[in-house]
């Protein structure tokens, strides 16, 4: 794990070194602006961005915490809504045929195109404590729910037909079949969707901050450091690293939760 990180950093520096010494300009010119040294990026974390300001890492940690809050809320909403939709759809072929195309269609609309509308619609209805970031959470949820719905549906349908027959011999009702058979059978599928959704929720939160003009999160930081890129490229790179770390953290949390919850035969990995 650590070896991979070291190797990637090494590759970065090797590429940089070959391109600068040979003077190659394809596919792009390599200099301190397009590819700063890894140590320049690393060093940037422990520098104030302006005189009399805290270190960059302190600022980024605060922004990460803010974006994490949005992403976590979005992930939660998206997971619950996505799962509920999956449960609804598995019980009605009619709804499946009627709704599924629109659910798929919802994901072909670029998130950037709908984010401003969501902010305008959602924000006025939120209590003061949720102002601003609440709308971003909804945008993150929009990216999160889709894989969860699709995989929940597939997972609920994956229940063994003979197991369904067995439940019939117990005169089991819909509810019992759902909770004792379909939902446990679907969990491997649901969790593979949640892994996707975990990273998608972070991306959704960052993108959602842009049209909301929210300055407290990583999205705001990216816009901000973009403007200074020609002078201080390492600060944008450092922000990218922070965003990646946040995404990975979300992913790891889901994987750990999955290990704690899902009991299945080793060969039945969905």
């Amino acid at each position: 794990m650590l070896a991979v990180v070291v190797a990637l950093l090494g590759l970065w520096e090797l590429y940089r070194w070959i391109w600068t010494t040979t003077g190659w300009t394809w596919p792009f010119l390599v200099d301190d602006s397009s590819m700063p040294h890894v140590w320049t990026i690393g060093h940037a974390f422990f520098q104030p961005t302006q005189v009399n300001q805290p270190w960059l890492i302190t600022i980024l940690l605060h922004k990460m915490a803010f974006t994490a809050k949005e992403a976590a809320a979005g992930f939660g909403i998206g997971a619950v809504v996505g799962f509920a939709l999956g449960v609804l759809l598995v019980h009605s072929r009619l709804l499946q045929r009627g709704l599924l195309p629109y659910i798929v269609g919802s994901q072909t609309v670029p998130i950037l195109a709908i984010a401003p509308m969501v902010v305008i619609w959602v924000n006025p209805k939120l209590p003061p404590s949720l102002q601003g970031w609440g709308a971003v959470a909804v945008i993150a949820a929009y990216l999160t729910f889709f894989p969860v719905t699709i995989n929940t549906l597939r997972g609920l349908q994956s229940a063994d037909p003979q197991a369904l027959e067995l439940m019939r011999t117990y005169a089991a009702g819909r509810w019992a079949v759902l909770w004792k058979l379909r939902v446990p059978a679907s969990l491997p599928y649901v969790f593979s969707a949640l892994r996707l959704a975990a990273t998608a929720s972070v991306v959704g939160a960052i993108i959602g901050e842009l049209p909301s003009s929210i300055q407290d999160g990583l999205g705001g930081a990216i816009i901000n450091f973009n403007q200074y890129y020609t002078f201080e490229p390492q600060e944008l790179w450092a922000t990218n690293v922070a965003a990646a770390v946040l995404g990975i953290a979300f992913f790891v949390i889901v994987v750990l939760a999955e290990r704690a919850v899902v009991r299945r035969a080793p060969e039945n990995v969905a």
């Binding site: 063994d160 003979q162 197991a163 027959e165 067995l166 019939r168 011999t169 117990y170 005169a171 089991a172 019992a176 004792k180 058979l181 446990p184 059978a185 969990l187 899902v262 009991r263 299945r264 035969a265 080793p266 060969e267 039945n268």
Partner: protein, 267 residues
Amino acid sequence: MSEQSVVRVGRVTKTFPRGDVTALQDIDLELAPREFVSLIGPSGCGKSTLLRVIGDLIEPTHGSVTINGKSARQARNDGDYGIVFQDSVLFDWRTVAKNIALPLEMLGWERQRRRQRVAEMLDLVELTAFAEHHPWQLSGGMQQRVSIARALAFEPALLLMDEPFGALDEMTRERLNLELLAIWEKTGSTVAFVTHSISEAVFLSGRVVVMSPRPGRIAGAVDVDLPYPRTVETREAPRFFELVTQVRELLRQRGEHLLPEEEAVLE
């Protein structure tokens, strides 16, 4: 006998609309209390369909099924029978003990009562040491024993078995035959047992019902007069071979309906 029959199937016909197949035609069958009856026949003779009609998993086109004097639907809702399939159909996410407890949960038993019964059932199928294992950690034979324990956990009067040992190797199958008889003698359930194997049917049953295909009909029955409890020696008794031959003859008489590959099954 007819008054206290556990299962009474009266003139049952089942046609499947798709392809206009007559799976069962005019089936009459009665099972007395504590009786062990095998249904045997080539593939397509409707023996599994008949078992499902008895269990109210398939509705007959004509005719009636009563279990303990009730309609099949009522009997299913009351939990009057347990069922064992060819696959053990255990839930991967539950331990062995929790799998056996499943029907008890469905019946709304209290936790303490469930735990006590599960312990008894584990003892009955000799899997106490594996209570906390998950199904995929067990061999096929052990999985099927769990499945039997689950079917019998709520002491149903009737046990329906659909080729329960069909997927197991010969040696495991013969051992489980003996275990099944021991369990049956302890619990006193009535058993309807579907199988492909003539020797298995004769070894286990008090009566072997032979079915023939297209349309699925009862070709005849052989009363097995071998005494219980049956042992390894039973399989070597001359009477055992006579009865096996009788069943085989019955299957063969109806053989004019059979396709060549179905003939092969009978050998």
